[in-house]
């Protein structure tokens, strides 16, 4: 396929499967050093991702939202690669389960004593909050 200046290829994979692959015009995600918006011909960049939603606008203007539970993002001028620890299409997320996980994590966070448990609970909380954020984004998109 001929690559125009206006698009870049984006691949989102988790360790279990491929989630998304296609030509896009805009990519938005939250990196460890802050939120990132990436358009074609970005300089090479490599960063870790925080658990959070990822927004992608494909070449035909379609907007898709994904949930990424941490991972690595590599940006090349014409290719974006997301290697997520876990990833899901936001529409496939289970809001009730995420809410439950958040409450559980909050409870665990206040009761756990060992460093390990606290860290696990914190991660769980971050991930469930990220899932909820992705769900919220989908909802807002529908309203528009």
């Amino acid at each position: 396929m001929e690559k125009t200046a206006g698009t870049l290829k984006c691949d989102i994979v988790s360790s279990r499967r491929e989630i998304f692959s296609g030509e896009i015009t805009l990519f938005v995600a939250s990196g460890v050093a802050g939120d990132l918006g990436i358009t074609p011909r970005h300089v090479p960049l490599i960063t870790e991702l925080k658990p959070g939603p990822v927004k992608v606008i494909s070449a035909d203007g379609e907007e898709s939202i994904f949930y990424v539970g941490g991972g690595i993002l590599e940006v090349m001028p014409h290719v974006i690669t997301v290697m997520a620890d876990e990833a899901e299409r936001a529409v496939d997320l289970d809001e009730a389960a995420a809410l439950k996980a958040r409450d559980e994590a909050e409870r665990e966070l206040s009761t756990s004593t060992s460093e390990m448990d606290v860290e696990l609970a914190r991660l769980k909380l971050l991930r469930s909050l990220a899932e909820l954020k992705a769900v919220e984004m989908v909802r807002r998109k529908k309203k528009r």
């Binding site: 691949d11 994979v13 988790s14 360790s15 279990r16 499967r17 491929e18 990196g31 460890v32 050093a33 300089v43 090479p44 960049l45 490599i46 960063t47 870790e48 690595i72 590599e74 090349m76 690669t81 290697m83």
Partner: protein, 287 residues
């Protein structure tokens, strides 16, 4: 009927064995597909991380990560050996162990020490009898191995490598070529072998966020974990394929044996009848 009864008992016992082996064959046949699906599902990730690694090795980072630096002297060699938990899969494990033993012998000949991490019961059982250090062991990974279950064992090797206790790490597994062929494979894991099939040749570098050192470390560790995980899945598919073939052979052999024994039985029965008739005829002639 001389031996007639013994032969029928034998035939019946072989028939039972045949039932078991053909059942195992069918179970393995269905499991191959599942493990193949699993293997294919993780391929995109492995492929992507390899691509990024290729870019990384072409970039000019301001510092060299220890995982990519070749050490001048190799004093100790590490092996991550991936085997099966269960037997009845032909020479699958043994062919792999032969490969490992050959490589160990070569390094020991050069005066290097050896340290092993074994995955699967068969490897730990086998290498217990070989006089080498076993640093870690994991088994019972099941039909759906999880990457989380491997991280501990892999970390043992990575830490030893970081502390320069180990200078070279291999991963050994059976590569699933197809159902008929599984190839014992010895792959160098650390230091990372250089790739030079990329089209990017100019001098350039990434922007690293937060910093190059931490990030490279994360990427490299992920890469190694993904690589070993892929190897485990390949080995799992190989296990089922090898077991299916082994059980198919056993079923065929049992069938052959039953045919042969049935022939012997029929002959013995015929001989007995012939003998009886000739006895009667002889008796009648005498009267």
């Amino acid at each position: 009927m001389a031996g007639g009864k013994e032969i029928t008992t034998k035939i019946r016992s072989i028939e039972n064995t045949k039932k078991v082996t053909s059942a195992l064959e069918m179970v393995s046949a269905s499991k191959i597909r599942k493990s193949q699906d699993l293997m294919n599902a993780t391929r995109p990730y492995a492929h992507m991380i390899r691509r990024v690694m290729g870019h990384l090795s072409k970039a000019n980072p301001e510092f060299r990560h220890p995982f990519t630096v070749r050490r001048e002297e190799t004093k100790k060699v590490g092996y991550i050996i991936i085997s099966t938990d269960r037997g009845l899969c032909g020479g699958l494990n043994f062919n792999l162990f032969k490969l490992v033993l050959a490589s160990i012998g070569e390094w020991q000949g050069k005066g290097a020490e050896v340290s092993l991490v074994t995955l699967g019961k068969k490897a730990s059982g086998f290498f217990k009898n070989v006089k080498v250090e076993i640093a870690a062991h994991t088994s019972d990974l099941g039909e759906k191995p999880q990457i989380e279950d491997l991280i501990g064992s892999i970390k043992v090797m990575l830490d030893a490598y970081r502390e320069e206790k180990i200078d070279l790490v291999y991963v050994v597994y059976n590569d699933f070529v197809n159902t008929m062929t599984q190839k014992p494979t010895l792959e160098q894991l650390l230091p990372l072998p250089e790739t030079d099939d990329e089209e990017i040749r100019d001098i350039w570098d990434y922007i690293y966020e937060p910093d190059a050192e931490a990030l490279l470390d994360t990427v490299l560790v992920r890469y190694i974990e993904a690589d070993v995980y892929q190897a485990v899945l390949e080995n799992l598919a190989s296990e089922h394929a090898a077991r299916m073939i082994a059980m198919k052979n056993a079923t065929d052999n049992a069938g052959d044996l039953i045919d042969e024994l049935t022939l012997v039985f029929n002959k013995a029965r015929q001989a007995a009848i012939t003998q009886e008739i000739s006895e009667i005829v002889g008796g009648a002639a005498a009267v």
